[in-house]
Amino acid sequence: MLGYLIRRLLSAIFAIWVVITVTFIFMHLIPGGPFQTEKAIPEAIKENIEARYKLDQPLHIQYLDYLGNVVRGDLGPSYKYRGQTVNDIISERFPVSLQLGLLTFVIAIVLGMGAGIVAALYQGRMPDYITMFFSTVGISVPSFILGTLLMYVFAFRLGLLPAAMWGTPQHVIMPAVALAGLPTAFIARLTRSSMLDVLNQDYMRTALAKGLSRLRIIWVHAVKNAIIPVITYSGPLLAAILTGSFIVENIFAVPGLGKHFVTSIYNRDYTVILGLTIFYSILLIGLNMFVDFAYTLIDPRIKLTGGKE
């Protein structure tokens, strides 16, 4: 077990290093410096700025410098907003995205699993068809379409919810639902098929023969086993919430990190793009590693062979 943990940790660190290196190279392949688009400035000021941001150093020095800073948890300054660092941006905006993301996560898991369980129990009957219909539609409607539709119906037509901004619980509902649409649909399908698998197992008949109540069989025996494929979906689920937040936060003007990421793409604020990409990668790789650990603890059938199939 310990060997597995260490191997998994090392490969995660290696992956993060690759991401840092690749994004660093990408950002430095961009022709011209980050101040090239600004108005003509005196040579001396330009030199001062470049010295301030260490752009006058050779590339490998810049790289090692950056790598050292990332290891110390410093993701560098913003070129666009003087005096603001990537760390400032993250600590200011990430809590908002985190709230939204957590709510999305809960909606997707509860609604998705609930719908999937119901569909499996009523296989081939109306609740099954309805769930499958909505989950197929849900997979095909991108979050930005769902978001704008929700906004039109609930904010503009019915006037029930605020169209934009952040602050009250009402503000969270639409972005979270828009973001949860696709993962919910996917989880519903996943839960349904794994539930059907479990329901056909011999031990289900044994449980029934023992005289256990139907509710107990479903909750204790079926759902517990059907949950495992859903846990493996956590990685893609987190990725979907994360990339979805770029769009949904923009639609609903949520002052989160996803909105800022897109803004920095518009602004060509390269240090922020670089820093946030690295932050997102560390977040995802770390969470995925955590999911893998949790997964091996929950399901004792999984062999710990360190990533080999």
Binding site: S11, A12, F14, A15, V18, V19, V22, T23, F26, M27, L29, I30, P31, G32, T136, V137, I139, S140, V141, P142, F144, I145, T148, L149, M151, Y152, F156, S193, L196, A239, A240, L242, T243, F246, I247, N250, I251, V262, I265, Y266, R268, Y270, I273, T277, Y280, S281, L284, I285, N288, G307
Partner: protein
């Protein structure tokens, strides 16, 4: 040796009937037969062909071009002259949605093709070589996989935007092709590798080796054709993924540049005037969703048809 004529008996019509066996059909005929029985997949296929025709020829039948502006008719709702209405610059929305179909479908097909080429070669070599080579090649895939592909695509698009500034504000269609092609082959490589790993142990591969067929020939002539079913399913399912990604990129301002129109860009443009002119959102939104739905259904149908063992 001579056979006496008496041994030869002329068959009657009845005997001929009894001798007839079912004509043998190939794997592809069998798959096509199964696909035809799947009404949802067939409707999707018909819709996709229809969309393809509209994207190719539709704009020629329209009196307007995608950039024609008519400032007397801005933000109009659907009418006889403009069935989908007009946008804030008085451009015909129908022809813009048709051009959007061109862009979306070409992105889908090009991405699927590059996925196919890179994924099959990479996965094939990895699976066939096995051992250390396989280990290293798959570790690379694992690492690239560990952050979401859209993040890679965004990084590439940000880079291309600066390297090819000639394409204007957006990053241009070719950048999208390249960026998606560079990232989308990962799942294909994994699937092909898995298939090749099991196929190379089978007798026909051994037989080919025994008669001295060169390695590349065994891989590309014998093993990969036998893995074609899952490969085609994966390639088909990468089309909606690519179309979605293009819409996503256009929506955040990294897609094709104005005055070109892609569905994502149309939806993004409609957002600012959503309260007053919802029809501008409706048609591109419908187009994206129905197209993604059709490709997903077709992919599922192909999976059932080409890979009957996987059927639930």
């Amino acid at each position: 040796m001579q056979y006496p004529k008496e041994l030869f008996v002329r068959l009657t019509e009845k005997d001929v009937q009894a001798e007839i066996i079912r004509p043998s059909i190939t794997y592809w005929q069998d798959a096509w037969r199964r696909l035809k029985k799947n009404p949802v997949a067939m409707i999707s296929l018909i819709f996709i062909v229809f969309l393809l025709l509209v994207a190719l020829f539709g704009p020629y039948f329209s009196p307007y071009s995608y950039s024609d502006q008519d400032f007397d008719r801005q933000n109009q709702g659907p009418s006889i002259e403009h069935p989908f209405g007009t946008d804030s610059l008085g451009r015909d929305q129908l022809v813009r949605v048709m051009y959007g179909a061109r862009i979306s479908l070409s992105v889908g097909f090009v991405a699927s093709l590059t996925t196919f080429i890179i994924g099959v070669i990479y996965g094939g070599i990895s699976g066939y070589a096995g051992g250390r080579v396989d280990n290293i090649m798959m570790r690379i895939v694992d690492i690239l996989y560990s952050i979401p592909f859209l993040l890679w695509v965004i990084m590439l698009m940000v880079l291309f935007r600066e390297i090819f500034p000639a394409t204007g504000g957006g990053a241009g269609l070719y950048s999208i092709f390249i960026a998606l092609g560079l990232v989308f082959w990962l799942p294909m490589a994994r699937i092909v590798r898995g298939q090749i790993l099991s196929l190379k142990e089978q007798e026909f591969a051994l037989a080919a080796q025994t008669i001295g067929a060169p390695k590349w020939k065994i891989l590309f002539r014998h093993l990969i054709p036998n893995a074609m079913g899952p490969i085609i399913v994966t390639a088909t399912l990468s089309i909606p993924e690519a179309i979605f990604s293009e819409a996503f990129l256009s929506f955040i301002g990294l897609g094709v540049s104005a005055p070109m129109a892609s569905w994502g860009m149309l939806a993004s443009d409609a957002l600012s005037s959503l309260r007053s002119f919802p029809h501008l959102l409706m048609f591109p939104a419908l187009a994206i969703s129905v197209t993604l739905l059709a490709f997903n259904f077709l992919g599922d149908g192909l999976q059932d048809a080409l890979d009957p063992r996987m059927r639930k």
